[in-house]
Symmetry: C2
Subunit: 330 residues, 2 copies
């Protein structure tokens, strides 16, 4: 390993740190391009999410967390489309903070995650910049014509979410205001849970086949359930019950200390859970299959007629409104 005073050049960086991650068809990252042999009868599913230092992660976040998040936010998109991972390409812009040692830790954790999620590295590019940026293209596949769309769904379809909502947004709030009264009053375990959920999204890969079998529409929730939720089957109205949204014990504890955090949880970013619409006749099988896959889902509302309002209701059935529906990086 080079020290910081002997930085690895692009060629050595690729050869020593990233070539070990290369999958079949990547030719040890020594060719101009990679090949991917599509499975007959399948469509490729393509997605791309970039992370920028100081925008999508803190400059002092551990390289392992950034690597994990980079891969997982893209995997989350594949899962929401019902796709099975096939591989990824990475553009890595190295800023002044990314020493060779930093990059070695980043690459090692990227490799661990790539293996864990069966998403081999196929190719990429390494460049120099004033600020670190990582742009990842993930490829997956679905049986021909079967990608689960955002704009599916029909009036009456039930709306579900995976996991718990808002943990990451509360974790980010803890990072941004470490001296907050509610943060200081939380248990250490609850604080750790929320901070970890911000740093380490859990893409719901096991839900992909369940979505293929049962869902009429789905999307990844990355910028807040309220705002993102309007983009699912957007031509249809919907009724969502805030009290049914699944919350972790840590999130409940935070909200008990500071009730406005409910809005933070529902409109904050970085959930990387899946919002799904499921026809009524499929709901029982869907819930059972999701549970069997280890990814329980919770019903939070339903789609209504075209042009009907997008309504959020509180526990008493009164309409809820939000100051800001989504988390905006841009």
């Amino acid at each position: 390993m080079s020290t910081d005073s002997e930085p690895l050049g692009e060629f050595d960086l690729v050869r020593t740190l990233f070539a070990p991650l290369a999958g079949e068809g990547a030719f040890s990252l020594e060719d101009d391009a990679a090949t991917l042999v599509p499975t007959p009868g399948h469509d490729l599913v393509l997605t791309k999410d970039a992370l920028v230092e100081g925008v999508h992660f803190f400059p002092d976040d551990p390289p392992e967390s950034i690597a994990a998040k980079l891969l997982r936010v893209n995997l989350s998109d594949l899962a929401a489309k019902g796709a099975k991972p096939r591989g990824f390409l990475l553009a890595l812009a190295r800023g002044p903070r990314q020493s060779s040692a930093w990059l070695a830790r980043f690459a090692a954790c990227l490799g661990q995650n790539a293996r864990a999620f069966a998403l081999p590295l196929l190719g990429g590019d390494t460049v120099k910049a004033d600020q670190a940026m990582f742009s990842l293209t993930a490829l997956g596949e679905v049986p021909s014509g079967r990608m689960v769309h955002r704009q599916g769904g029909a009036p009456g379809d039930a709306l579900y979410v995976s996991g718990t909502i808002g943990d990451a947004a509360l974790g980010l709030a803890l990072r941004l205001a470490p001296g907050s009264v509610w943060g200081g009053a939380l248990s250490e375990a609850d604080r750790a849970h929320l901070l970890d959920r911000y740093l380490h999204p859990q893409p719901r890969m096991a839900l992909a086949p369940v979505l293929l079998a049962h869902a009429s529409a789905a999307m990844d929730i990355s910028d807040g359930l309220v705002g993102d939720g309007e983009k699912l089957a957007s031509r249809l109205g919907r009724t969502v019950h805030a009290a049914k949204v699944p919350l972790s014990p840590a999130a409940r504890a935070a909200m008990a200390l500071h009730p406005p955090l409910l809005e933070t949880a529902l409109t904050g970013g970085d959930d990387y859970e899946i919002l799904m619409a499921v026809p009524q006749e499929n709901t029982s099988a869907f819930e059972a299959d999701a549970l069997r896959a280890g990814c329980p889902v919770v019903r939070i509302g339903q789609l209504d007629a075209p042009g009907a309002p997008h309504r959020w209701l509180d526990a008493t059935g009164e309409p809820l409104s939000f100051v800001r529906k989504s988390y905006a990086h841009f």
Copy 2:
């Protein structure tokens, strides 16, 4: 069009500027992912090149030139692999200089190039950064198992290059030292030619089927013919004749004024021409097919036995050496 004082947000930016570029399977950029239906009997070919402001382009380069270069450097990799373009994904990091008007010009020219080269936009991500960066993943396809590799080739195969070499490196030299004696002595037309070749690479797409038919190895020359050339069939020796390397009249005029520019031309970057190895028995058909495709190729040397030296010879047969073999951004 928004003015700079009313910058477009991410959603509007994508909807107004980039959605019009979206191809089939991109769902107007309104889904989490795109689909690509692979042609039966074909492999996907995947490549990724990123451009960073101040590293790969000048901050005051016109947005049209940056858009054209971004698409074309990736197309050049597809061409070198014998691949037919299918589509691309783009991560756009918007820096402080990228006003909405700038981005509108960028997107318009990206669209023109995408249509011209039949490479539709499939998806991407837009983020905010302190410095502009564009990361593009290009997808192409080749008949199954037929991608033209860097590490093909056999002793005795002829080495060819497309187009002319070094124009872009001389154009960059003109940009970096605008007051040079040789630059000042060049004709306006020669200066314009070299500057244009730096800004606007010409990917040799028409050579792709010719390579598939005849070449044993190929690669895109982006960081200098001498240095990149060592990476083709790297286990084999080679003999290359500097006097045979095709030069434009503008490059010859520059070298007549300042002979050391030959080394700049042979080791500078941004050619985006193709270096190819062709078995002796294919050379006549290869040259004829390349000419018919409108991309003349020039024979510059041959591959030698495994472990033999990588030799560059001058016009008298004397060995040539170079201070620096490649252009290094990193």
